[in-house]
Structure formats: structure tokens, C-alpha cells
């Protein structure tokens, strides 16, 4: 017989694997406590015991250490069950306080133990001394702040000298791997773990160093945070590589620069949110110190509130305020934070806030029935199909209280926030006690928008959003041929507008690609190769990188001279090269020197 038979299923024997691994691959369940794929097998809990018919004899072996040799293995035979019951009986007296062990014992029909607890101190013990915590701390995290002391009955897990450890990295691996929840970081170190705030949860939730950026990410592949991963930083851990069954983790992977030749580019780089606090990325903008965004935890922005409402968010969709987790009974929404405020440096309307404030207030009311949402607004700009009706519904059906006016100050009183504002319709000052304040912040250009524009040769408007070729007639094209715009990188816009623009940009690209010949304005520069001395001035000044070096060779292939050459497909006809050429070897069709001089001549005398 040269096969391995596990519970009647025949497989190829593979001594490099253990019976447990092979069984798990086959979908056969073998209970384990001390086994973890990131660690070498240890065989201390004995629970994975199986019956192996080896060399004709039936023996009980731990599946986690027994190699997958040829032969027969029974994982759930009567001798196996009997052995497991005995093990569980022993565990029940070793760790009587562990609900996990009790649960497992019940599964195998063990209600009480035949053994007695001799040491009364053990009555509250949950630890089964499987050693997972010690091994993961020592071998995987390479910290070594845990160990065993004593032997036999007195054996227990503890820190060196039973003092709080000062080498513990608070990684929490011990807590995580413990099968009986018997260990807690507080008993190991005084230090507190510093959680990593999740970018997607806008700082309201936490994430691990390896994470999927957001639930609907495409591709839905985890990424490793280079700055936080202990493997990449200190060559510790590496658990993800060991547990991945597809060998997909590669710590050597580097950022790549991918070069691709393309015929068109659609820029859809999006926007950033205006930073409410005092710190601003440039000196033109000012923050709202009076709203205490950074100081008070319960002053949040719209994105954060969006996460609080989301069923997949940090609170599973329950509206709970960040400071103490209480359900806010009064929420104040402030629109136009940053937008339409020349004092703060942003004059434009962010367009989307009126609608999402109404949506937030409405959803809040749907989740907290006895809560009261208030909205401070400048104007309700609900232009768009069914938009006005939506806002009216928030006001009339859901009882959102709209107050026309600005908020001057937010301060703390007890565990509430007092919002001081003006009601310009009744010409009076209002003060609202709120549990939560949500600021509808302005959309601002992406922080790297200008740098990127310089890189690919498109223009930014005065606010920093990308400039379209014509505000009315060419709203998705840039001035640079072959580059199109879509979405909020061009101007603040909502989802339907962004989708419409993106569709238009895609159509423009198809239009460009569908014709056999490229149609261009005839105003392009041309180099006179006879007089060009290849000083490269034109190449340096061309904003479109449309000019390149060209070799002129004779029939034998000998290099005669180098000249500049204009790529007519890329030249936009600005003429900067013409003015920069010292030998006047570049001329712009339609605006060559002779033509312009003739114009001057005509305007001069007479």
C-alpha cells in the first residue's frame, strides 16, 4: 500500500506535511488548541490525537506532529473519541474557568471530570499551558517577554521575574493566539498598545498593518503598510506569510514604475477635504479655530459621520458619538464649512454639501427616532433632478430643523457641546446644545494636484482645480491634446455629474481612437532643418514635450547633423519655441515672423 487513507479518503502521502495539514486540506475537522499555522507543531494539548494504523498496529498519534506517511488514519474513531474525552477531563481540572474548554467538553459528551482540583488557586485558571503565547512571543515576534516558570502542577506562564515587562512591544499576539482567552496585555506590561487608525474609517476605527484598503477595493487584495509592518521594519512576525495558503505574501515586493505607451489620458484624480483645524496646507487658506475640530472629539466632519451611519462602519451602523460611545440625541450639522467663505480663502460653492447634509440629517433621524437634527445653512442649493424634493422631505417628513445662518462658536458644557449661531430669518441669536456636531467641509483640490498637472502638462485654474479647454463647449477636454478630465479634479461635483463627465471623457477617447487620422489645428511649429544648429532651446521651453532630437544621416548612414523636430500631433501651437529660437529656425504656421512683421507694418505708418 503506497497511499495515505484519511477517514476513507485516499491521498498521496507527503511526509513534508503533517496529518493535520493534509486533513484540513481535505476539509476534515480535527480539534486543536495548541496548533497555530505560524508556529512549528508543539503537540502539547494532545487534542488533535488520531488513530494511525502504522506498520499494522493501531496507535494514537497527535495529528499536528505525525507526518503524512502512507498508511491509514482515522480521525474520529472510537479510540480517538475516548482519548479526547480523557484529555478534556484533564483540562477541565487544569483550566476550570475556561468556557472554551467547557464548550469543547460538552461537544464530546464530557459533563464532569473524574479528577479533582487539588490546588484551590486553579479554580479561576483559564490557561491550559499550551505555550502558544510563549512561543509566538519568543519565536515569531522575537520579543521574549513571556516564559514558563516551575514544573509539573506549578507550571505557569509569566513574565521574567514576574515583573511587568519593559521589552513587551504590546503587539497583542499572545492575546490573539490564546485559545482560552487566558492572557491579557495588562498582566504583561504597563505600556498601552497604540492602535493604527484606519484611513477608510476616517480615524474612527482601527486596522492592522496588513489590510484591505476598503471593503469594495478593486482588486480586493490586502496591502502591507510598510511603515507599520514588524516584518519589514524589524524582521519580526511574518505570520501573514505563514498562514496564507496561496503563498501570495511577498515581503520583497517593491514599488514599480510601470511605463506604458498610451494614446489618451483621462485624469480623474479626485479631490481632498478642506482641513477644518487651524493648520492649513497653504497660506491662502485659513482654518476654523472657533469650531474646535481638533480639540473636541464630538466635532466631526461629514466623511466621519458617513462612516458612523454605515452598516460596515466602526459602529456597525449605530450612531454613536466618538467621545463616549453614547447615542447622540441632538446633532447639529453645519453646512458651508470652508465653502463660499472668501475670509477662509475658498470662494466657491462645494456643490455636494447641501445634499449630503440633508441625507445625513435624514438618515440620522431614521436611526435615532427621538433625536433632533439641526442644520445651519447659508442657502439650500438643491439644483438637480429631485434634489429640492429630497431636501423638502428631510424638512417636512423627517423634521430636520433648518436654521439659516452661520455658527460663530462651539464650546463644551458638561458632556455636551453648545453651538452658538445666528438665525438670520428671525434676526436672532441661537444657542443649541448638541451631543454631536457634523461639519460639511469644502471640497478642495487634491494636495498633489498642481505637482501632477506640471508633470503631465495640463493647467490648473485659480482655485487649483484642473482647467478644462472651454467652460461651456469643451468641458471634459484639457488644452493638452489627448488629455481629458473626469470628476472632482476639474471642479466640485456630485456623483451623477462625475459619472456624466467620465462617460463623456470616455466617449471623447473613443472618438479620438476611432478615426484613422488625427485631426489637429493647423497652427503647429515646424523646424527648418537647414538652419537649425541643435541648441535645444526649443526642446527645453516646450510645455508639451512636443519637440525632440532628430538625427540627419546620409545615404551611407553617417550622421550629418542633429536637429530639433516637432511632433505635430503633440504641438499645441503656443509658439514659445519660436520666440526662444536664436537662429529663427522654428516657425509657427499662421504666426511666423514674416506674417507678424507684416501685421506690425500694416498697423504702423498710415
Amino acid at each position: 500500500m503506497d497511499k495515505l487513507i484519511i477517514d476513507g479518503i485516499e491521498v498521496e502521502p507527503d511526509p513534508s506535511k503533517t496529518v493535520l495539514e493534509v486533513a484540513r486540506e481535505l476539509g476534515i475537522h480535527i480539534p486543536t488548541l495548541c496548533y497555530h499555522p505560524a508556529l512549528p507543531p508543539y503537540g502539547s494539548c494532545r487534542l488533535c490525537v488520531v488513530e494511525a494504523i502504522w506498520k499494522g498496529k493501531s496507535t494514537l498519534r497527535t495529528a499536528c506532529t505525525f507526518p503524512a506517511w502512507e498508511g491509514e488514519v482515522r480521525t474520529n474513531s472510537e479510540p480517538v473519541k475516548r482519548a479526547r474525552r480523557l484529555i478534556l477531563e484533564l483540562m477541565l481540572v487544569e483550566a476550570p474557568a475556561s468556557p472554551e474548554i467547557q464548550e469543547l467538553a460538552k461537544e464530546y459528551g464530557v459533563e464532569t471530570s473524574r479528577f479533582k482540583i487539588i490546588d484551590e488557586k486553579k479554580r479561576h485558571n483559564r490557561c491550559i499551558q499550551c505555550g502558544l503565547c510563549v512561543r509566538i512571543c519568543q519565536d515569531v515576534m522575537k520579543v521574549g517577554s513571556l516564559g514558563f516558570k516551575n514544573r509539573g502542577f506549578q507550571r505557569e506562564v509569566t513574565t521574567p521575574f514576574e515583573e511587568l515587562s519593559d521589552v513587551c512591544a504590546t503587539c497583542g499576539a499572545c492575546e490573539y493566539v490564546c485559545p482560552t482567552n487566558a492572557i491579557s496585555l495588562d498582566t504583561i506590561t504597563q505600556r498601552k498598545p497604540i492602535p493604527i487608525p484606519s484611513e477608510f474609517e476616517a480615524g474612527l476605527g482601527y486596522r492592522t498593518p496588513i489590510y484591505v484598503p476598503f471593503p469594495q477595493a478593486v482588486p480586493n487584495t490586502p496591502v502591507i503598510d510598510r511603515e507599520r509592518c514588524p516584518k519589514l521594519l524589524r524582521d519580526k512576525c511574518g505570520v501573514c506569510e505563514k498562514v496564507c495558503t496561496r503563498d501570495a505574501i511577498d515581503y520583497q515586493m517593491q514599488d514599480e514604475i510601470i511605463e506604458a505607451e498610451v494614446g489618451a489620458i483621462v485624469v480623474a484624480t479626485g479631490y481632498d477635504l478642506y482641513n477644518i483645524g487651524k493648520e492649513q496646507p497653504n497660506e491662502l487658506w485659513k482654518g476654523y479655530g472657533e469650531y474646535n475640530y481638533d480639540a473636541y472629539k464630538d466635532v466631526i466632519d461629514g466623511i466621519q459621520f458617513e462612516r458612523l451611519l454605515s452598516a460596515s462602519g466602526p459602529t456597525q451602523g449605530e450612531v454613536r458619538r466618538p467621545s463616549d460611545g453614547k447615542e447622540p440625541k441632538s446633532v447639529v450639522f453645519i453646512a458651508c464649512v470652508g465653502s463660499r467663505d472668501p475670509e477662509k480663502g475658498l470662494e466657491y460653492c462645494s456643490k455636494i454639501c447641501c445634499m449630503y447634509v440633508a441625507k445625513h440629517a435624514m438618515l440620522y433621524k431614521h436611526k435615532v427616532h427621538d433625536g433632533q437634527p439641526y442644520v445651519f445653512y447659508m442657502d439650500i442649493r438643491a439644483g438637480g433632478k429631485n434634489y429640492e424634493e429630497f431636501v423638502r422631505r428631510a424638512i417636512e417628513e423627517d423634521g430636520v430643523l433648518y436654521i439659516r445662518g452661520r455658527v460663530s462658536k462651539i464650546y463644551k458644557d458638561g458632556d455636551q457641546l453648545v453651538v452658538v449661531g445666528a438665525d438670520t430669518l428671525s434676526d436672532s441669536q441661537v444657542q443649541i446644545r448638541a451631543d454631536l456636531v457634523v461639519l460639511a467641509t469644502a471640497m478642495v483640490p487634491h494636495k498633489n494636484a498642481y505637482e501632477f498637472a506640471q508633470k503631465i502638462g495640463i493647467a490648473c485654474g485659480s482655485e487649483g482645480f484642473y482647467a478644462e479647454a472651454h467652460p461651456k463647449l469643451r468641458p471634459v477636454e484639457t488644452m493638452t491634446a489627448g488629455i481629458y478630465l473626469a470628476g472632482a479634479c476639474q471642479a466640485p461635483k456630485d456623483i451623477p455629474d462625475a459619472v456624466a463627465q467620465a462617460s463623456a471623457a470616455a466617449s471623447k477617447v473613443q472618438l479620438l481612437f476611432s478615426s484613422d487620422e488625427l485631426e489637429r489645428e493647423p497652427i503647429v511649429a515646424k523646424v527648418n532643418e537647414e538652419t537649425c544648429v541643435h541648441c535645444r532651446n526649443c526642446i527645453l521651453v516646450c510645455p508639451y514635450s512636443a519637440i525632440d532630437d532628430k538625427e540627419i544621416r546620409d545615404k551611407q548612414g553617417n550622421l550629418i547633423k542633429m536637429v530639433a523636430e516637432v511632433n505635430e500631433g503633440m504641438c499645441m501651437g503656443c509658439g514659445t519655441c519660436v520666440a526662444a529660437c536664436p537662429s529663427k529656425s522654428v516657425q509657427l504656421a499662421g504666426f511666423n515672423d514674416e506674417q507678424v512683421f507684416a501685421e506690425i507694418l500694416a498697423l504702423g505708418h498710415g
Binding site: I523, C574, A579, E599, I600, L601, L603
Partner: protein
């Protein structure tokens, strides 16, 4: 230069005989200042009629020799205007222009040109009013300075 023969055939200036009016040549870019001047027109803003506009694609195309040529051809003042820095339709043409004129200014001055007659400015497509005001200001200044006889005397 191929135009030299033509200039010789032209008659001498006659403005001094009639009532003198300033003759100003403006080199403007197509996208900002020309559109701004157009806006001034469509907005029915009245301004001095003594500026003649030569439209070029970009202020980056404006060769320094155009300015000298304009004076040679009898201009009393020259205006150069394009998009505001950072707003260039062609991304960076006006920056090249600005740098070029910064150096050229000193050279012109060294050659004896009255730099009050050369006006550099930025006018955007939305600034029709600014264009009108600028032209009025420039015309007033040139009127005060009188005809640019010095250069023409040299040519004669």
C-alpha cells in the same frame, strides 16, 4: 529681414502735420487678453481707440524683436499682455515671456528706449473692464509723453 525693402518704400510719417494721436501696438495672447478685450467690446465698454491689437497664440510667442519692430514702424507705445502667471492656456508660455521680458527690459533701456512706452501687463479673459482701464491709462500716459520722435529721427 525681408521686410526692410518694404519699409523704405513707405512714406515718412505725417502725424505731426495733422493733429497727433497716439499710436499704440498691443501684442496679446489669444486666450486671455484677446478674449478680455473681446469681452470689453461685447460688454459695450467704451475706451480709447488708439490701441491696435496683434493677436498671437500665447505671450510666449511674443518675440522681443516685435517690440523693436513696432517702434520702428511708428508706434508711440507698445503693450504686451497675456494670461496671469499660472493661468497660461499653454501651461507655461507666460512664464517664458515674463522671464524673456525681464532681461529684455534692461537691454531696451540700455539702447535708449523710454521704458515708459513699453507696458507689460496680465489681463485675463474675464477682465474686460481691466483691459479698458489699462488702455485708457496707457493712452493717457503716451499722450503725456507725446510722439516717439527720437527713434524715428534716428531711422531717418
Amino acid at each position: 529681414m525681408s521686410n526692410e525693402t518694404k519699409t523704405a518704400e513707405k512714406p515718412a510719417p505725417t502725424e505731426t502735420e495733422k493733429e497727433w494721436q497716439p499710436r499704440i501696438i498691443a501684442f496679446v495672447c489669444n486666450w486671455c487678453t484677446y478674449a478680455g478685450a473681446d469681452l470689453a467690446g461685447t460688454s459695450r465698454i467704451a475706451y480709447e481707440p488708439h490701441v491696435r491689437i496683434i493677436k498671437l497664440p500665447c505671450s510666449g510667442r511674443i518675440d522681443v524683436s516685435f517690440i523693436i519692430k513696432a517702434f520702428e514702424q511708428g508706434a508711440d507705445g507698445v503693450m504686451v499682455s497675456g494670461c496671469h502667471p499660472g493661468d497660461c492656456h499653454y501651461t507655461a508660455g507666460n512664464f517664458h515671456a515674463r522671464r524673456r521680458f525681464a532681461g529684455f527690459r534692461d537691454l531696451l533701456e540700455f539702447c535708449g528706449f523710454d521704458m515708459r512706452r513699453v507696458i507689460f501687463s496680465w489681463v485675463s479673459a474675464a477682465e474686460g473692464k481691466k483691459w479698458a482701464e489699462l488702455v485708457n491709462e496707457v493712452v493717457a500716459r503716451i499722450r503725456e509723453l507725446g510722439p516717439f520722435e527720437e527713434y524715428r529721427k534716428l531711422l531717418a
